[in-house]
């Protein structure tokens, strides 16, 4: 099975992405949504919250599993995709676009992020 790994963003080993372009968006990868299966619940931080790279920013639940979400960069949350509260399945259907989770304004270090190629190697 092959998974989509777009080159316009960087990745955490724990399967979150951070887009290169502004506004920087955070979400989970195609591989991650497939591993989780049907996503039924997403818990996200409030706008204005400040997070440090690698910190937990929320929780995602599929029917069969509960997983923590980690922020790829030290940043302030500038927007939250509230659409996911009513339609968490968007994470499955379109993880890189309609299924985004946060918009963030970086305020410090990013963690040790992987390029698309490096992430693609990790999930092979």
């Amino acid at each position: 099975m092959s998974f989509d790994v777009p080159s316009d963003r960087r990745y955490l080993e724990s399967h979150e992405y951070l887009t290169d372009d502004e506004p920087h968006r955070v979400g989970i990868t195609d591989f991650a949504q497939d591993e989780l299966g049907d996503v039924v619940f997403v818990e996200l931080p409030d706008e204005g919250e400040e997070l440090s790279a690698g910190e937990e920013f929320g929780v995602i639940e599929s029917i069969k599993a509960v997983s923590d979400l980690y922020i790829p960069v030290t940043a302030e949350v500038t927007a939250v995709n509230e659409e996911l509260f009513d339609r968490p399945e968007l994470v499955n259907e379109d993880p890189y676009d309609d299924g985004w989770m946060l918009e963030v304004e970086p305020t410090g270090d990013d963690g040790d992020l992987l390029s698309a190629d490096e992430y693609d190697d990790q999930i092979q």
């Binding site: 299966g37 029917i63 069969k64």
Partner: protein, 367 residues
């Protein structure tokens, strides 16, 4: 510990299944998506590989007596080809396992058990319980000097469940016998896709359908004859939670979640007129202080196994919880004090430390 594999593990992997460990077995958890599989069973039909279920065969002149002593229901009323839901208890009256006991059809007893004397039963301990259950039966038989053969035939029988509104027609078409005439909880011996099988009108989904026991080596022939949605343990779990059915080891467990059958809501399988192990403790215990109930979550959040139920203070525990694909609200099963068990009672569930409103509901959910 080495995992046990169902006979069709490779076939399921080729079909794209993902797997999970369950009761020591490596079983398919999902073939396509839990939602797709759940909906197929509710709307048309689905097939489950449940070869992780144990099979223990008991036959001989004292077979009925042995079954009567070690299970809570009374098997002496079963005629050949009938089944009953029952439970296995510890001496203190708490549940070790729940199971279905099948009295084998007369025309197959000799062939299956090699035994022509007395009654013959087959029952299905839950995944991973077959070895301890076999030992329990043999020890009791030897201590009481009963004349019965006991065999653990878990890896001689594969087991498939075909469930859903279309399942009776589909299984009937594949079988030699007229299965439409088979009543709920009845069992017959018949060929399915040319393979000699035992077919029972039982299941764990709340839908009509059959469970098929077929020889391990012929599993592929039988599985392949059914062109219906393959379903994994994920959908099996959402379907049984929606119905409020107990999962052994999770909704009760002899060490982690010791519960009597009365607390667990299956008092109907207890016949105190028979002298089963655990009977005296049950009779002496009086009315249960806790009840197994359904919960509908009213706030955002999903209750999971082990989450606390609170009403000012901690009053109970969630033992199963999920988002059922066909229901709007997440649901859960768990134990609360009997004073809070009335449907409509509002409590909270602690979801990651946050009090989340929930309402006591009598399953099945969504009715």
């Amino acid at each position: 510990m080495t995992r046990r594999n169902p006979p069709l593990r490779e076939r399921h992997a080729d079909r794209g299944a993902s797997f999970t460990g369950f009761g020591g077995w490596e079983m398919p958890v999902e073939f396509d998506s839990i939602t797709t599989e759940h909906e197929a069973v509710r709307e048309t039909a689905g097939i489950f590989d449940v070869s992780h279920m144990g099979e223990i065969e008991v036959a001989g002149p004292d077979a009925t007596r042995l079954m009567q002593r070690l299970t809570t229901n009374d098997p002496s009323g079963l005629v050949p080809g009938e089944a009953q839901y029952t439970a296995v208890l510890r001496e203190d009256g708490t549940l070790i396992d729940d199971t279905v006991v099948y009295r084998l059809p007369d025309d197959r007893v000799a062939e299956i058990t090699g035994n022509t004397d007395g009654e013959a039963y087959l029952f299905v301990p839950n995944a991973g319980n077959d070895i301890d259950t076999y030992d329990r039966w043999v020890d009791y038989r030897d201590n009481e000097d009963l004349a019965a053969t006991v065999r653990n035939v878990t890896e001689e029988w594969a087991m498939f469940a075909v469930q859903g509104p279309d399942a009776p027609g589909i299984v009937n078409d594949a079988a030699d016998a007229d299965l439409t005439a088979l009543g709920r909880f009845d069992l017959t011996a018949t060929a399915v896709a040319g393979v000699d099988c035992l077919v029972a009108r039982t299941g764990y989904t709340g839908e009509d359908g059959f469970e098929i026991l077929c020889p391990w080596g012929d599993a592929e022939t039988v599985w392949d004859t059914f062109d219906v949605q393959p379903c994994g343990l994920g959908a099996r779990d959402t379907l049984r939670i929606e119905q409020g059915f107990l999962l052994s080891g999770q909704d009760f467990h002899p060490d982690d979640e010791p519960r009597t059958p009365y607390e667990a809501g299956i008092g109907f399988v207890v016949d105190t007129d028979t002298a089963f192990v655990g009977r005296d403790a049950l009779v002496n215990a009086g009315d249960p202080e806790r009840a197994f109930v359904g919960l509908e979550l009213l706030d955002r959040g999903i209750a999971r196994h082990g989450y606390e139920i609170v009403d000012g203070e901690t009053v109970g525990i969630v033992t199963s919880g999920t988002k059922v694909p066909t229901l709007d609200r997440p649901v859960a099963l768990g134990y609360v004090p009997t004073a809070l068990a009335e449907p409509g009672t509002e409590v909270d569930v602690l979801v990651r430390g946050r009090e989340t409103a929930a309402r006591v509901t009598e399953p099945p959910f969504g009715d």
